[in-house]
Symmetry: C2
Subunit: 388 residues, 2 copies
């Protein structure tokens, strides 16, 4: 099922091998929350490990906002290692010798799954901003179709961090019997005003870039490099913590011993942020960034459940491992505790850990021993309980 | 000394009455930290109240990053009330019936004081990015010349919040005998990596806007409206607190009962931020924004004093009232405490208050009763001590 498709990142058009792609909702369309119906749409995904005979060893990994399906191995665009090799792979917490890991590129994403870059059959050009606005519920509905495509009735585990963690929570609510275990990491039951504010800044940064062309940059042969880079710089600061930034960069100067008294990147933190911004435009699509941030802003499991989060989980039978990071100010521990309290009311099997670290929200992507141990321990428990 | 000058804000050129302007350093130039020398340069300022005969009732107010000299009365550009009417005016904590308040527009500012919009006599056009990079020390050196222009030997008090607070700290260090009292509010002894990061995002947002024209937008008849607005949106979020945003806006929708499933400003917080961005471009200059944020990034009284902040205040004889706000994450209480500890080592007269509020950094501009009471109380004490 491997397939090459043309993906544009930054000002370059290149052909990339994106791996497996399946077309879903062929028989009956998927109705999105906005009312639109989509059918026969592509979802790109990667699998790692082998599905066992009774299809009981499958783990669904849900990626974060700007993550993708390449959690293990070399990334086809960046050439870097997979984003979750800290916990997934041979002999790791998510052990590919034991489990079958599935990770789809999110609906609305830009690495092969159905998104704004796809061709609108009615016009013959990319959807761009005519792509329907999607939600977290829509994303997991597409994931569910992929899981069914594999003939898997019950997942061993659904796991993810950040946006992936919101998806895990939504899975537990929408498909309460579809998994034995849920691991939402660095997540919240809804997006706060501050979360929305930072996303809006990123979106405005992209939208006002003249190269954005109202979302039609591909048709125009242009690309909002600067707007997307500034959006990434802003988001990146929210992924780190003040104390972590201070420890890592402090007020250290970059490649100089004295201040330049100018607007070059005098400080290491400036140089680092500029690099983060420019690296991002090589691997991400501006329209996808708008769509996925919007999906997150619309996420509110409390409102969806009549103001009482306990209702979200009233049918859940899964075991939960909920993890937060002490210095995460994007989705702080106080948000994770709301989930814990709601689940406690359903007498669910819950583990909760706040990991002490100064690495902020991004800690779930890093080699953080306490975090990795927590996932390892939980997976052992689930393995014993379900697979014996 | 009142003078009309042409000030450009946003895409409009208009003539504004900017009030008083004085030319300083006429006899001998002021040497800036970057090495440049400036002379016969304008500083625009406002005064409120009357200077008494022995010139002992003068208060210097230092404004914040995007503040200006109009702390009381109608602002000539926005038409809004002065930015510090909560504590300054007739019968207020800074009582204009008792005190003579001086507030200069900062060096590098855009409301009449010497800055990048001024004409470079060598080229006949605006300095733009040829204006020398200035520092907090340079700013207070210009303020000192203004105070001397009034023949004031010793100020009753130097007071300011945010960047104004950093200036107060620098005054105490550079001119330790020039004031009876110092009131640094919501300030820090140096800019952290996170502070620099947010400033760099704002600067990049401006610089990459094609309308910026490498800083020469005035000559080109253009203006980086979008870049400056996004910079302001980013900064504005850092001036508020997560809990304050949640209380004020939460996830409330703006002018609609349902989500639009689009990229309009569905949420009140989005609409509010866009408004803040657009209002800002009508009253602020993009080059000034670069220069003043840079001055703040360069501010580090700890490094300046050999790594020991106590050295900064070793000659100070002033009374201090140091105020922080519990929800200020831009310049948190932990930074104010560094100042308190350093001052304590000099056996200085210190009052320190952390005001409990969810209004974040911007609390110093708001009608916050505990804060206002604290300033009132301190001013009464200083009045009695100095003026009897």
């Amino acid at each position: 099922m491997s397939k090459k498709i043309t993906l544009q990142f930054g000002p370059k058009y290149k052909e990339y091998e994106v791996g497996d792609i399946v077309h879903l909702a062929k028989d009956s369309p998927l109705r999105l929350e906005c009312g639109a119906e989509i059918s026969d749409f592509p979802i790109a995904y990667q699998t790692y490990g082998t599905l066992n005979e009774d299809k009981s060893n499958a783990i669904l990994v849900c990626h974060g906002l700007t993550g993708d399906q390449y959690l293990i191995g070399t990334h086809p665009i960046t050439g870097k290692a997979g984003w979750w090799e800290s916990i997934a792979g041979k002999g790791k917490a998510l052990d590919t010798d034991k489990y079958f890991i599935i990770c789809p590129n999110s609906l609305g994403g830009c690495l092969g799954s159905y998104g704004p870059k796809h061709i609108n059959s009615k016009t013959g050009t990319a959807f761009n901003l005519d792509f329907p606005v999607i939600t977290i519920k829509d994303m997991i509905a597409a994931q569910k179709l992929l899981v069914e495509h594999f003939g898997i009735e019950k997942l061993l585990c659904v796991i993810g961090g950040s946006m992936g963690g919101m998806q895990v929570l939504q899975w537990a609510s929408t498909y309460p019997e579809a998994m034995h275990a849920c691991v939402p990491i660095a997540a919240a039951p809804r997006h706060s005003a501050q979360n929305i504010a930072f996303h809006e800044i990123g979106r405005q940064s992209i939208i006002v870039d003249p190269e954005f062309c109202g979302g039609n940059y591909i048709n125009e042969g242009r690309f909002p490099v600067n707007g997307l880079a500034v959006a990434r710089m802003t988001a990146h600061v929210t992924y780190l913590s003040e104390s972590g930034l201070q420890r890592k960069f402090g007020r250290n100067l970059q490649d100089r011993s004295e201040k330049s008294y100018g607007f070059e990147a005098d400080f290491q933190i400036e140089s680092y942020l500029r690099h983060q911004g420019m690296a991002f435009v090589e691997r991400f699509d501006p329209n996808s960034y708008l769509y996925i941030t919007r999906a997150l802003d619309y996420f509110d499991m409390i409102e969806d459940n009549g103001g009482d989060l306990r209702n979200a989980f009233s049918h859940s039978t899964a075991s939960f491992c909920i993890i937060s990071f002490s210095s995460d100010w994007l989705f702080p521990t106080s948000e994770a505790k709301k989930v814990v309290r709601a689940l406690a009311a359903t007498a669910a099997d819950i583990s909760f850990m706040e990991i002490q670290t100064d690495k902020g929200h991004d800690a779930f992507l890093l080699d953080e021993p306490l975090f990795i141990n927590a996932i390892e321990g939980f997976m052992k428990k689930i393995h014993k309980k379900v697979l014996g």
